[in-house]
Symmetry: C2
Subunit: 137 residues, 2 copies
DNA sequence: TCATAATTTAGAATTATTCTAAATCCACTT
DNA sequence: AAGTGGATTTAGAATAATTCTAAATTATGA
């Protein structure tokens, strides 16, 4: 009797490997790539494989325990923050920062009307110079 | 005396290859991938190579003649629309639509203040179901 | 014309990610 | 406690997108 919710019963288990990956992502405010997560995970569980890291990240993302950020065509980054939030990307060094602007959420209905899409979520992305790069110029 | 602006003088020329690529991107409202642009460009200039398509796309993007859209970790898409605008992405079929919400631009300063970034541009992305996929559910 | 710089080309290389097939693990059943 | 089936893990191969390399070509301008 799988109700479709949560992790339970036979399938969809939070295995030791998945726990390790989750722990790594939750252990930092940074937005790690799969490669960085693999390195960190191997320190906690040396036998873990690259494929399992990818499988686990997908699993955790599908379960809503972490979120995936994809910018540019570089490697995906994984974020422990799963609530709605916005991003700022540095056009100089690529640095990525989270922030939350309540006004963004308010644009959901407006954006839906304009695009004729049935809305699910909205994200605002600010492109600019991070404090470090901005100071240099 | 390169003033740093526009296309002129020796370097940075709009070669036949680059013109063809530009013509392909400008020739449709769709958002083509590099592979699709390569196919179309070869019909106009059979000798053009894949690498040149990539080089040209980068050149045209840097010159501000086209814009590059990167979603998920699939292939970049190229857009003839270079002005500020927003995107709606269908979470079901991946369809991508442009629209413009003037309210988004108004959030630039607010987002800059919150993130402490020196702002350059803002971009809103709506995730949801496109009209077709929305009708099915 | 000659020299120099920019550009194009084909194909190799790189990077990120997914796939495959075999091995392992786990919860049940007999 | 042995057997079964499903889920998961593993190592490595495969794929896809993009960038790099080195040689050839083209344009530019003294």
């Amino acid at each position: 009797m799988n109700t479709g919710s949560e992790i339970e019963g036979g399938a969809r288990a939070l295995t030791p490997q998945r726990q390790v990956v989750l722990r790594v992502v939750r252990g930092t405010e940074a937005h790690l790539t799969a490669a960085e997560i693999y390195d960190a995970a191997r320190r906690l569980l040396p036998s873990i494989s690259y494929a399992t890291v990818y499988n686990s990240l997908r699993f955790l993302r599908d379960e809503g325990l972490i979120s995936e950020i994809t910018f540019g065509n570089s490697a995906s980054r994984y974020d422990r923050e799963t609530g709605r939030h916005d991003h700022a990307v540095c056009t100089e060094c690529g640095r990525l920062t989270d922030f939350d602007l309540s006004e963004t959420a308010a644009l959901l209905k407006l954006a839906a009307r304009r695009s004729k899409f049935k809305p699910q979520s909205v994200h605002l992305t600010l492109y600019g110079l991070c404090p470090d790069c901005g100071a240099k110029s």
